[in-house]
Symmetry: C2
Subunit: 311 residues, 2 copies
């Protein structure tokens, strides 16, 4: 069974990309969309993110057999609750939120009559809004599905097939485990990037102009993810508080150990630590989860020359 | 006055790139090179990193009017001291080290009869060794020169012109200020990246396989700089200890404040912090210090489609 009418609530990077991806990879399905913001709806119509952008969420979901909530984690419950009567009884409800325990609970409470199978495509860019989406966002990326127990296996299979059709590889796990895994692979990195970019902006001895000028020394890498949508990230940290604080505690311990090694001049400890982190990069590239070219293949200086002088 | 014979001691990413850049952008100059490691010398010869790769450092510097030390920060003094008699008296000595106060002192002590003008091209990739270099590494990047006081202005001008010929923009500042600026734009980011990659490898509840698999959520960005040369980075932290510890203290304070905001659920503070860090990213892109394409223009999924679906 595949979905024939998909409704997307929230037309930012994720929602817009899903709309475009459905039109490209599932041409037999219809996709309707809605966004609370009239300007976003207008832009979504212009870009053709959906076949139809509705003027009300009720209209968008009226004939859907799959509704996907693509709003910030903290807005899921409020977006879903008014649609309790508008969403058809047989319709599957899902989402794309970056934390799963809190969102699962919020959607289940808002839509007690519907089957909710939460999902999280681990894909994105630093851009947000209705201009940010593109059809290939999910290709070769993982999508984690966190079904409730028990779960309608037919509907679960349909949702898995849906994401696979959009190009994603699907993994199934519990919401609890998802939140722990993502706390380390996504939430903590964002928190740290936001922190260091803030720290660098607030110095007295080094001007912001200097920070920008010499950012190629490593800092600029952090500014990319620190340019992500602030509303979404506020909600991620608030909705995955426990796992984030746990990981942060581990990080702080490790940082304190390295800080001490620097203070006492323990070169051996520093070297040992720095040597073993290389292997992870290699694995990420081998598994196709990052660009193998040096510097992510950035084109800010003559990238083509790199290949030529190699070998 | 321009240099006619440049000697490069150390043929890794920096030394190799300088050798290739001289051959490409300063065809009238001769470049000789030496590396302590015989395998690196052999590879440097194969790749043609220099016109001549010498079998001894003394041979490499014998007729030089510019010697550039491109060894790890902690090895500068030991690499330079034996060459006190071999380097011609009129020859200018420079380096490419990432910290400047400690290296300036080490080179001045090792070569008391020579003029030493330290420099630091803020350019690199995560790769190292004789295969990593490419001629365009310095194009559109900043090179910071930290002259002693007083300084021979003719020689200083020649060094500035040399780096400009290789495509860099040159800035002059004190070694002290350099070390503070780079502590925030480069050293602290590397320390944090090394830390989080280590933290993620050591978890019990989340496997290393999961960390790799879901790294596209943000973590993978950190693995790139945490794949940098461990010897060099050990030396950077040991040789710029004070500035790194100062910046680390600021970072830790800011992280603790955000941690507290998460713990008490202060969404407003989180939002305000996350909203203001976007502006820095914009400035970095406007000043040509990073790739403006989303996700650094990574090609891991169909990059071309991004442009096409936009607008």
């Amino acid at each position: 069974m595949s979905f024939t009418q998909v409704a997307i609530i929230g037309l930012g990077l994720q929602g817009g990309s899903i709309g475009l991806a459905i039109q490209q990879y599932l041409p037999e399905a219809r996709v309707t969309g809605y966004d609370l913001d009239p300007a976003t709806r207008a832009r979504a119509t212009e870009r053709g993110l959906c076949h139809t952008v509705s003027e009300s969420a009720e209209d968008a979901v009226a004939s859907a057999d799959l509704v996907i909530f693509c709003v910030p984690p903290g807005a899921m419950g409020a977006a879903a609750a008014p649609l309790r009567d508008a969403i058809p009884a047989h319709c599957l409800v899902s989402d794309v939120g970056s934390s799963k325990k809190a969102i699962s609970a919020a959607l289940a409470e808002a839509l007690p009559d519907h089957l909710v199978i939460p999902a999280h495509p681990v894909a994105g860019t630093e851009n947000s809004g209705p201009d940010a989406g593109f059809a290939s966002l999910f290709r070769n990326r993982w999508c984690i599905v966190t079904p409730p127990e028990p779960c309608d296996l037919l509907k679960l299979t349909s949702l898995v097939h849906f994401w696979e059709a959009l190009g994603a590889n699907v993994e199934i796990m519990s919401a609890e485990h998802h939140d722990l895994v993502l706390a380390v692979t996504s939430h903590l990195p964002h928190l740290i990037a936001y922190t260091i970019v803030g720290t660098a902006s607030d110095l007295e001895d080094v001007t912001q102009g200097e920070v920008i000028k010499y950012s190629a020394g490593g800092f600029r890498d952090f500014t990319r993810i620190a340019a992500s949508d602030p509303t979404m990230w506020r909600d991620v940290f608030l909705s995955n508080k426990d796992a984030v604080l746990t990981m942060l505690q581990r990080f702080t311990e490790d940082l304190t150990a390295l800080q001490r090694a620097i203070r006492v001049g323990d070169g051996e400890q520093l070297f040992d630590h720095f040597a073993r982190t290389r292997a992870i990069r290699r694995s990420i590239i081998e598994e196709g989860q990052d660009d193998s070219r040096p510097d992510f293949g950035r084109s800010d200086h003559d990238g083509a020359a790199r290949g030529k002088t190699k070998g």
